[in-house]
Amino acid sequence: MLRNVFRLLSALLSAADAFCNRLYGKRFNPLYQSGTIVVTLYVVLVATGLWLVVFYRVGAPWESVAALTANPWIGNWVRGLHRYSSDLAVVATAVHALRMFAQARSTGARTQAWASGCVLLLLLFVCGWTGYVMVWDSFGQLLAREGSRMIDVLPVLSEPTTRAFTGEQPVATVFFFLNLFAHIGVPLVMGGVFWMHVKRLQRPLLLPPRPLMWTVIGAATAAAVLRPIVMAPRADAFTLPPTVPADLFFAFWLPLSHRLSAGHALLAATAFGIGFLILPRVTRPRVAAAPSVVDEDLCVGCVQCAIDCPYGAITMVRRADDRADLVARVDSHLCVSCGICAGSCAPMGVGPPGRSGRDQLERVRTFVSSGVAAGRIVVVGCEHAGAGADGRAGTRIVSYPVDCGGNLHTSVVELLLRGGAAGVMIVACPPRDCRHREGPRWLEERLYKGREAELQPRVDRARVRYATAGPGDRHQLAAAIDEFAAQIRSLNPAQASASLDVEAECEPAIIEDTA
């Protein structure tokens, strides 16, 4: 059943990705950029919040906010931008979490990122809660009462906090001061947790491409101007409003908790939070993929794998033997077994078991020896991308799936062409949708920009094509394959090379000799 749920989630995600790719292109697809959009909105929230707090008075919360809201030039639209940015942040966080879960990027070495992400989500809700209570309108009062009702269930306070809102006395100024303190302090804590969230990434991307960033900010601003914020009635302990204007992004739980007893509501919230936290742990296989290993005899200490590793799992240390070079060391606690190091290592001395450059060559040699590649276009496709030439373009296309375009060793491409393939089309995930973050980027640079472990100059570039495709981009990919096939037809027929010796391809020294 869980497998079906994952399939459904992945299918939904793929369909949404394909839709957004068609409308906004892969580079500006907001679904791919959900994490960086949250950071953008966080910055907007801090900036607008600093402005708003200048006008806020803890002694007269509703009155000060009402005065600010009544000012269309310096108040209302800033408040609107603050509110809509927080709502968009909830949406972007939800999309980001769904992506990470559906793409299995939340377990193993990524558990810390998932756990800190859950904490960030909780803090975001706390921020929203305190923000709406600050206004002290009917919605803020409802949130405060619901929150205090649940807190009172816990046997930690001898005096029920709900009594603060019964009308015996005006709500104390100190309450609004503490609430303001929390509303300012929690985002500071979020900054620290965010550091933990991205700590294990070697090159965390914090902001989306500028056009997308300004579009998001502009859209929230436009919404704030076109749909000005309206003040809800002042909180009153002596009337029961029939309805309350609620922000469902932060209070989606309110209609449900309102019907439950305080104990049950707290229990449900706690169970939901814990369930969300451990969801990847209980739904994904316990056995993680084996981390990369280093063959110290082959490692020449070039440092490229340490540079390319997206998770900083590889460090270079001095050799224990009499060779002067450094040698790579893999930290198995940080390694997610992405295999990018396998593609970055020219002498093929590092990679996950069974997926190193040498293993890739063994596999492709078997593939070539079977003769299926001869005279055909081989589509080397990342299994997560929209690759898969099955049923396309007749018999001139053959599919060769790999687990990640980023860990594809360029010698595989060369070997396919030397084995008689008419052309090789490599299909990777869109750069911001790679499960292993930087796979497509490094692959493209190895193919075209001479990045270490590059595709050798002797390989005919006219017979090699690189493309990116999401799972929902089959039609675009098909068109690209057709176009490549037409180009290949205009070239001379491919000739198979006499030697397909794997060892000859592996050792850089031997390759130089044969060249």
């Binding site: 709502d87 001898s158 009594r163 302990a237 029961l240 029939p242 309805t243 309350v244 922000d247």
Partner: protein, 191 residues
């Protein structure tokens, strides 16, 4: 990128933002019923009940000099029964104890009872529960506690969706009603 794609992408973005704006302020039902609410909320110090005896000379002699108090007391705090009747019907009947693990802190009352709009006879009784140890044999208390018996009986006119608060006012040591905070004419406790 075709013009159609541009228009579609803009339309999709606008629709998304419109959805966010709409969900940002959705009227939700806070109180479905048009009934009024009787709220009882107060805090007070419960009466300290102590069982005291004189220490014998021998007992005193065995104690360190700085601990030789002639009167030895063990105590607890009184419990109170809260009973609320609305239009003659018993709607609340529970025992209230002091706060804290040992129930020796201030007691807190917080009850909310829906009441139909209109005139309703409200009777509130808050009586000390008499037990074997409820009569204190200790010295008079220095801190004033809640009286052993509190009684409130009034006909209250509840307006639709109005909250009427009944609370304890230490100044007059009695229960009082607070009604209609938004109406200045009804402000203040009404014993």
């Amino acid at each position: 990128v075709t013009a159609t794609t541009r228009i579609l992408s803009l339309a999709a973005a606008c629709a998304f933002i419109a959805g966010v704006v709409w969900l940002s302020s959705v009227p939700i039902t806070a109180h479905a019923s048009s009934a009024a609410l009787l709220r009882l909320a107060w805090s007070a110090r419960p009466e300290r009940v102590e069982d005291c005896r004189q220490r014998s000379a021998e007992e005193l002699a065995n104690l360190p000099q700085h601990m030789r108090q002639p009167l030895a007391c063990e105590g607890t705090t009184a419990e109170y029964r809260l009973q609320v009747r609305a239009a003659g019907a018993l709607v609340v009947d529970r025992v209230v104890r002091g706060g804290g693990m040992r129930h020796d802190r201030r007691l807190y009352v917080l009850e909310e009872v829906p009441v139909p709009a209109g005139d309703t006879d409200i009777q509130v009784r808050f009586d000390r529960v008499e037990t074997a140890r409820s009569a204190s044999t200790g010295p008079p208390q220095r801190i004033e506690s809640v009286p052993p018996h509190l009684d409130y009986e009034q006909r209250i006119t509840f307006r639709t969706r109005e909250v009427v608060l009944i609370t304890y006012t230490p100044d007059v040591r009695a229960l009082a009603a607070v009604q209609g905070s938004s109406d200045p004419a009804h402000k203040g406790p009404q014993p």
